[in-house]
């Protein structure tokens, strides 16, 4: 009966191998472009991770993960932009001049101080998710309604980022001229350092969430996903758990937003686009929403395809992606991880007598 897929030791071992391999990548890749590209994938993987948490484990299909990502990205963009400003000579970013601002708006003031700016970039989206979650889950909004409410909220933020041009530079977005300065160092987005920073965050978040899912909390959010009413009649406040998991997923997406801008030095309303948020769900679904690593790998695969295969099959890519997605939803509801689970399950049955520990 024992399926190595479900063996906790094997799981932790797989996580260990996965992240170790990822950590070694920059030592093997000479090309700084590829390192940067992979760092981007790590961040996108983090988004898939947040989807996996909220949808796969929490059962909440949020199409608004981009809200946290986008808000955090703007926070980071503002921070890095202010690092390039000079209090005496260039006290405000030039795009504000275009929009008839002569003084730095109060909204931007905190971002003179980079640590405060980064902290705000993480805290504000997280709090927003807590608030939105409270509004939704206390009213027992569930299922597709959550999807549509988050979608509407995302669209609202998108038009806001567009329209509030004096504060956000609108469609053009904010492109800080210099890389992030941290403690006197300049974090070159094309260096292995940037990659490792992203990887460290991804590793910490993944292992943290993995541990969290092994905690009582992790058990209960899954219980809530399976049957909210049963959970309620066990004495749990279903709304409180849903808000918690929604907020956590918002935090993960916010971290991704901050890292993204560190790596690409650019933020625009496209971070808040509906299609981007839905694509995150696609990554998680392809890799397997019920597996943290699966979701991350899903993000790697889809984006890798887009980057490497995309150039070859210029015109067909979206067709392939859409088709792939339909096939996966139709036949593999748990994605590639689900496929692995059933393959290992069969293998495990055969090997049950000889090997109890399962392969690593």
């Amino acid at each position: 009966m024992s399926n190595p897929y479900h063996n906790p030791k094997a799981q932790w071992a797989a996580y260990l191998v996965f992240f170790t391999v990822l950590a070694c990548v920059p030592l093997m890749v000479e090309n700084t472009f590829t390192v940067n590209l992979l760092a981007r994938f790590l961040v996108l993987g983090m988004l898939a991770l947040s989807v996996s948490l909220v949808w796969g484990y929490g059962g909440i299909l949020s199409l608004g993960q981009g809200i946290a990502f986008g808000l955090a990205a703007y926070g980071m963009g503002m921070t890095m932009q202010m690092q390039a400003q000079d209090p005496e000579n260039m006290p405000i970013p030039s795009f504000m001049l275009t929009n008839e601002l002569t003084e730095l708006p109060a909204l931007w003031e905190p971002f003179w101080h980079a640590p405060t700016g980064i902290a705000l970039a993480l805290i504000v989206p997280t709090l927003f998710f807590a608030a939105l979650g409270t509004i939704m889950f206390q009213a027992r909004v569930a299922g597709v309604f959550v999807a549509i409410v988050t979608l509407a909220m995302l669209s609202a933020w998108y038009s806001m980022a567009f329209d509030m041009q004096p504060y956000t530079a609108g469609f053009n977005g904010i492109s800080p001229p210099n890389p992030l300065q941290l403690g006197g160092y300049s974090v070159d987005p094309y260096s292995a350092t940037a990659y490792w920073i992203a990887l460290a965050c991804l590793t910490a978040l993944t292992l943290g969430l993995k541990a969290l899912l092994h905690s009582k909390f992790g058990l209960i959010i899954q219980a809530v996903r399976e049957d909210p009413e049963r959970a309620r009649f066990l004495g749990y406040s279903v709304a409180a758990y849903q808000v918690s998991v929604f907020t956590l997923s918002g935090f993960v997406a916010a971290v991704a937003g901050v890292l993204w801008v560190m790596i690409v030095q650019y933020v625009s309303p496209t971070a808040l686009e509906v299609s981007f948020s839905v694509t995150m769900v696609i990554w998680a679904a392809v890799g397997g929403r019920m597996s943290l690593i699966g979701a991350i790998i899903g993000a790697f695969l889809v984006n890798g395809m887009q980057s490497f295969l995309g150039d070859e099959l210029l015109y067909g890519f979206l067709l392939v992606l859409g088709g792939l997605f339909i096939v996966i939803v139709r036949f593999l509801p748990n994605g590639l991880a689900g496929l692995l689970e059933s393959v290992l399950g069969r293998f495990g049955k055969r090997a049950a007598s000889s090997d109890a520990g399962g392969p690593v």
């Binding site: 009413e229 959970a231 918690s244």
Partner: protein, 250 residues
């Protein structure tokens, strides 16, 4: 003082009264069976006690505190625990996880983020699993259980909670004869230490477990007494066998 007391409890949809001015007292340590033909309002009564449906009128109190309008999870925390008619377990989780989820010493989400391996929970889970014949099935996902096992699992979940009163809505529905008998044995071990309110149809089972029996009919109280008294009661016989012709209730 009764552990659980219902006074004048009423539930109406428009004009139709599903539960009509119903009174009930359950004392500590008692195993009470609630009987009645289909549509008598038994499940609705349980729903009203646990807060799943909104009450129209009347008062529900648990150990003296009035819980009539509390939210569901607060009632559970106050010591009410229920088993649903259609077994409600977490299908995607293993038996062990189901039982662990039911161990509700802490319900605060933030606090539970730091609960990893709770020895007390483990012991309780294993103890309960033994009790409901699932000790060998702890690692199995709940959706692979047989129907009877699923029922036991839910009974086990209710037991794990160690509530002041257990509300069991048709615990043996769909079980085989043997399974029903085992269930009766489980219930008999709970007598004295636990308080139970059991809704049941299976008379063999009721005979096996009941102390006192309350019979409902069309939302109202019909009779109460020991199993023998109820079996002799003409009104009860009529509503069960005779259907409409000579309805006796006032």
């Amino acid at each position: 003082m009764a552990l659980l007391e219902l006074k004048g409890v009423t539930k109406a949809y428009d004009q139709l009264k599903v539960v009509d001015n119903f009174d009930l007292k359950v004392h500590r340590g008692e195993l009470r069976c609630l009987l009645g033909p289909n549509g008598a309002g038994k499940t609705t009564t349980i729903d009203l006690i646990t807060g799943r449906q909104k009450i129209t009128g009347g008062v529900i109190s648990l150990e003296g505190s009035v819980i009539t309008h509390w939210p569901e999870h607060m009632r559970v925390r106050a010591g009410l625990s229920r088993k649903f008619q259609v077994p409600a377990v977490f299908k995607g989780l293993t038996v062990r996880q189901n039982l662990e989820a039911a161990f509700t010493r802490h319900t605060n989400p933030v606090r539970n983020m730091f609960v990893f391996r709770d020895r007390e929970a483990r012991e309780r889970v294993e103890e309960v699993a033994l009790r409901v014949n699932l000790a060998s099935r702890l690692g199995v996902r709940a959706d692979f259980l047989s129907h009877g096992e699923t029922q036991w699992l839910e009974i086990g979940m209710v037991l794990t909670q160690n509530p002041r009163i257990l509300l069991m809505d048709e615990p043996t529905a769909g079980m085989t004869v043997q399974e029903t008998h085992r269930t009766g044995e489980i219930f008999n071990t709970l007598k004295g230490t636990h308080t139970l309110l059991v809704v049941e149809h299976d008379m063999g089972f009721v005979r096996q477990i009941a102390d006192r029996v309350t019979v409902m009919h069309m939302g109202r109280f019909l009779a109460e007494g020991t199993i023998e008294e109820i079996e002799r009661n003409e009104d009860v016989k009529r509503v069960y066998l005779g259907g409409g012709k000579h309805h006796a209730h006032a």
